[in-house]
Amino acid sequence: MKLDFEHIPAGHCENGVISSLLKYHGLNLSEAMIFGIGSGYFFAYLPFVKLNGIPLASFRPVPGMIFARAAKRLGIKMKKQTFRKQPKRAMDELDKVLEKKLPVGVQTGVYYLSYFPPAYRFHFNAHNLTVYGKENGNYLISDPVMEYPTTLTYEELKKARFAKGPLSPNGKMYYPINIPENIHLKPAIIKGIKQTCDWMLTIPVPLFGVKGIRYLAKRVRKWPDKLGARKAASYLAQLVRMLEEIGTGGAGFRFIYAAFLQEVSEVMDDQRYFELSKEMTQIGDKWRSFSSLAAQTCKGRSSDPDAYNTISNLMLDIASDEEQFFIKLKKLIRNAGK
């Protein structure tokens, strides 16, 4: 059984899955639009949360949040299920929903996805993909970060859905059950942008938003001294991976946000969002320079303090740019709401 489902490659898995599920049900919203409405743009530095023993820096809110917010703001009802320690039931339930001719989004652990290039395969449990059919016992998979659709065996999919460790999916699956006939984009966009501005500018803890970038910049400066050359390089490498590796659309989602603002300028019929999109592209380009510089510094694991200083300064510079940007956007959106 194979559903007439269109595989749409995307920058980011979560938004990609939602966007293509909605498209199947006749609602055309781009990945960037979902990302913007769901306030996907963010920065958080969480020194007490360790990934591979390295403090976590994230350029997005916790998994599932973007999509939950977007669905709420658009009035879309999703059915969500988890199956703690019941893999068999989780697979049966998936089959049942597929039988009803509904493609299903599932959360998986990347480590068990056999179709990925080996270099991708780390223990990361918040990866989303769509199952859109079953043929000869194999599941038909539309993974948004893959260029083409793929397949998984029953065992592989079961393992991936029950990967263990941080953010374990517990078989989580979801699909839309009610999509309103008339979607009101404008109010959803306004809510999404407002929250992003607030989260980037006003959270009174120095680990989040623009303040978080500054905080991390100061830490980065001290890394070679504090950690030694080898470990400092590992820390920096992980930061670049959070920015660039699978599913950010490049530069820590900054380019996706710029694409979103272009769409907003059309929906709002307001050229000023298009101008801001250009600024966001420049911010994204700066993050790309950061990645490039940081990677060069990691390579060979040099502990040149000058290099770490340059990187830190570039981050401070980006933080200022983002601050200015969101102050402008906040002003613009405040008036749009009236």
């Binding site: 920058g11 290039p117 223990h123 590992s234 490498a237 670049v240 699978i246 490049g250 999109s277 990677a295």
Partner: protein
């Protein structure tokens, strides 16, 4: 990022796939393009694998010195730490830690060995007979 400047540095994608990259076309409009990869990403990914290999090497040293059991090798190879391994083996962490020592490993019953080898996706023989180079 401009469309014609989207990097195409083959590396971690290994010819298996291409990644979506958002970029602007000549009219300044955003489009989704494909990228085979980007050298800075290849560099940092390689570093992450180096870190994993380093842990495997460390485990092998300990096994050779008689200070660790084969489980430590496969744990490192599967990018796990005792907490994650305990999760997968459905054991308590302190038990896993005991099995990481040669003495605790020797006392494992066949079904416990089977349990570990399942987690690592290898045969019991591969686990028990493992010798680091």
């Amino acid at each position: 990022m401009e469309k014609d400047k989207v990097p195409q540095d083959e590396g971690i994608t290994g010819g298996v796939t291409r990644e979506v990259q958002y970029a602007v076309d000549k009219d300044g409009k955003y489009v989704k393009t494909f990228s085979k990869g980007w050298e800075p990403k290849n560099i940092v990914n390689e570093l992450a694998w180096e870190d994993i290999q380093e842990q495997v090497d460390e485990a092998n040293q300990k096994i050779k010195a008689g200070k660790a059991s084969p489980i430590m090798h496969f744990m490192a190879k599967n990018q796990m730490n005792p907490t994650l391994l305990a999760d997968y083996a459905e054991l308590s962490k302190w038990k896993v830690k005991r099995h990481l020592k040669p003495r605790g490993f020797k006392k494992l019953k066949p079904e416990q060995l089977e349990n570990y080898s399942k987690v690592f996706n290898i045969s019991v023989a591969e686990l028990v007979n493992f010798k680091p180079e």
